[in-house]
């Protein structure tokens, strides 16, 4: 008797819907076992991870703050991935956006510049991100260079550029030569939504982005084009869709969103430009995009859920002394189950009773 995976004749719609739930269920069971092995009460531990952060306003705000850049970047990435364009360099576009926007903040520092500063910074961030993303896109379209490699390598270029600027020309003159710009002026700062909290305008922008992406994909011809090119490139060619142009468009949108997320992060929660402004948002967003099944609403939920595990992980460290590594194991297990359960959409388990004949003499 054997258990084999058999390809389904067509995608199972039911499984597609319940697969994330199965994955979360399996994760909870596995984590409970892990917590029990660590000598912690699984119910309390899961409560600290998933329920406690949802019960007070402060943690809810923090979840939104943490999810904001993740969701914004992931939305852009999902458009690329749907169109079969593999932008792996959102991290670099995030950094370039932050740099371009900060340029305006640094140049207007201490001047009489008015309320146009922040909008200009956001625009500059998005534009720079888009242009930066167009480099790998153009290389693919013109020269057939793999955009996976080029976009990834440009991350390091952006990182070093930022590093150079804050150590050299943009360094805070009163900062003992430490690598950071001075704190941005109030007109160059993303406004807070709640006094005394950290929730900022960026979260609203992220929500608008989610809605726009939903409308684009669901209600417009461009959205249809993106999906067709991704799923059936040959059919798309016959339909007269230009796949190359779509690579450029999706890369530009995705770069713009990453750049916007970058400048919002710098002008919002951080307040100045410094090295290490991103704890890998551009890469984590790839996970968010796939966890959300490349669907705008799914991405919003996935982004919030991943943020929840970060906040819950910190609270677990504080209240239950559960090491950070457990949180990482937890995130890894979740991703593993999601991918594993997804294979059930296209495949199904089947028990085979008669063992297959094995040719003798094979080895």
């Amino acid at each position: 008797m054997q258990l084999v995976l058999e390809k389904r004749a067509e995608r199972s719609r039911t499984i597609a819907l319940v697969s994330p739930l199965i994955a979360i269920g399996l994760t909870l069971v596995t984590m409970s076992v892990l917590f029990a092995l660590l000598g912690k009460n699984p119910i309390t531990a899961l409560g600290v991870y998933f329920i406690a952060p949802l019960t007070d306003g402060y943690s809810l705000q923090e979840i939104a703050v943490k999810a904001t850049p993740l969701v914004m970047i992931a939305i852009g990435l999902s458009l690329c991935y749907l169109a079969n364009a593999w932008n792996i360099g959102a991290e670099g576009q995030f950094l370039i956006g932050a740099v371009a926007g900060s340029w305006i903040a640094v140049k207007t520092q201490g001047t009489e510049a008015g309320h146009w500063v922040l909008p200009a910074m956001l625009l500059a961030g998005a534009a720079a991100g888009a242009l930066y993303a167009l480099i790998p896109a153009l290389c693919r379209v013109k020269f057939g260079a793999s955009e996976i490699l080029t976009s990834l390598m440009l991350v390091y270029v952006a990182d070093l550029l930022l590093d150079y600027l804050v150590r050299g020309p943009w360094r805070d003159p009163a900062g003992f030569n430490f690598p950071t710009t001075a704190e941005f002026d109030p007109v160059a700062t993303v406004p807070l939504l709640i006094e005394g909290g950290r929730l900022h305008l960026g979260s609203i922008i992220a929500l608008i982005v989610v809605i726009c992406a939903f409308v684009l994909l669901d209600r417009t011809i461009k959205g249809f084009e993106i999906r067709v090119v991704g799923v059936a490139p040959r059919a798309a060619r016959f339909g007269g869709f230009n796949a190359n142009q779509l690579v450029l468009v999706t890369f530009a949108i995705s770069g713009a969103l990453a750049g916007l997320a970058g400048i919002i992060e710098v002008a919002g929660p951080i307040g100045h430009l410094q090295p290490g402004i991103s704890p890998g948002y551009g890469f984590t967003a790839i996970i968010v995009a796939f966890l959300g099944r490349l669907n705008p609403v799914g991405i919003l939920i996935a982004g919030l859920f991943l943020a929840l595990t970060f906040i819950g992980g910190e609270q677990a460290q504080i209240t239950m002394k559960i090491p950070l590594d457990v949180t990482k194991v937890f995130q890894g297990i979740l991703l593993f189950y999601v991918l594993a359960c997804d294979s059930l959409i296209l495949y199904r388990f089947k028990l085979v009773f008669a063992a297959r004949q094995v040719q003798s003499g094979a080895g």
Binding site: V48, A52, T55, D163, Y164, N177, P269, Q317
Partner: protein, 359 residues
């Protein structure tokens, strides 16, 4: 049903946390934010040892909590605030990059006291503390100059910030006091902790002819490379002799425990004040690991230098200090450079054959 279950779970949790608060009301809660994992065997490990020393010293009077691996970006502000909200009244943020986040949270919670390591921004409820590690670097420079056959030192730099630059300069001034023609090769790895990169840098430096490895990064990897190649090296932050029993000459040990104990004591006594502490060998803010793998005369010299610095008779940056460009550096501290000049050091001394990044 589901709703009721959730409600019950939330109520249970709430009750649990209230009970926790009530139980801990008589204890002082002390929180720590760590940059690396507690097992990094370097920077964070030393802070963790000091935390353990606190627990040993004060026992039931305090309760300590730490968050490890907290990145220096926007996440750190949240992490610090989480500690405040969990009831911690004294919070140590143990890396330079936590400076602005700590300040922001400090302004928001005036009744909580903060201690920030190696920064320069302070407030009524936010102290800073750091150590004059350059004193130890001067001693290491002297030892290195005595022990190097090639006359070339290999130096692994993390980030070209003043603390690291002043370390390189102090090393060179110490080395030049023994051998005026000593050379130093520097590799910047742009990280505090990356065993792979640090090991590669150490190998490259040895391949370029250096025969002594010095590091301003936190992992024991360079020490291991030196040991494998039969060369000598200096440890960093912690005792690294077990990684190079035949290689380690000495190591600068971050000994935070005395400072942490005094600050927690002040908090318990109600005498905590915002202060700027920059302690050296005299106040045991750091210590030198035993001088090993060197002849007796070198060991004697190192001990004498250490005694002279401790007694305040010798200052590593005694004037005149000559810059890389051959010009004498303005002497703002009487017969040695002023603290401000060392804290903001952004130039190399004469004899350093390297260009300061970003200059």
């Amino acid at each position: 049903m589901m709703k009721r279950l959730l409600g019950a779970a939330a109520a249970l949790l709430l009750a649990g946390s209230i009970a926790g608060v009530a139980h801990a009301a008589d204890k002082l809660k002390v929180g720590f934010i760590y940059l690396g994992p507690i097992g990094d065997l370097g920077w964070t490990y030393q802070h963790e040892l000091a935390r353990q020393a606190l627990v040993k010293e004060f026992g039931d009077k305090i309760e300590t909590t730490y968050l490890e691996n907290v990145p220096e970006g926007p996440d750190s502000e949240r992490a610090i605030e989480q500690l405040v909200r969990a009831g911690n009244k004294l919070i140590f943020t143990t890396s330079f990059g936590y400076m602005d986040p700590t300040l922001k949270v400090a302004k928001k919670y005036p009744n909580v006291h903060f201690e920030h390591a190696t920064g320069y921004k302070r407030d009524k409820n936010m102290s800073t503390y750091s150590a004059r590690w350059y004193q130890g670097r001067y001693i290491q420079g002297q030892i290195a100059a005595k022990m190097s056959k090639a006359g070339v030192l290999g130096y692994i730099g993390s980030f070209p910030i003043p603390e690291v630059v002043s370390g390189i300069n102090a090393t060179m001034l110490g080395a030049q006091s023994i051998n005026p023609n000593i050379k130093v090769k520097i590799i910047w790895v742009n990280t505090w902790f990356d065993p792979g990169k640090e090991a590669d840098a150490a190998k490259a430096l040895l391949d370029q002819g250096a025969d002594i490895i010095m590091q301003h990064t936190d992992s024991p990897a360079p020490m291991q490379v030196a040991a494998e190649r039969g060369k000598l090296a200096f440890g960093q932050d912690s005792e690294m002799i077990k990684f190079g029993p035949k290689a380690q000459l000495t190591s600068i040990l971050d000994t935070w425990a005395p400072y942490y104990i005094s600050r927690v004591k002040a908090e318990l006594d109600g005498t905590w004040k915002s202060e700027d502490t920059w302690g050296g060998l005299d106040s045991k803010m750091f210590e030198m690991a035993p001088y090993t793998n060197m002849p007796d005369d070198v060991k004697k010299m190192a001990e004498e230098t250490q005694a002279a610095i401790t007694a305040g008779k010798l200052h590593p940056f005694k004037c005149p200090v000559v810059g890389q460009d051959g010009k004498e550096v303005e002497c703002k501290g009487g017969d040695h450079l002023a603290d401000g000049q060392i804290l903001g050091m952004n130039f190399y001394v004469k004899g350093v054959d390297d260009k300061l990044p970003g200059k």
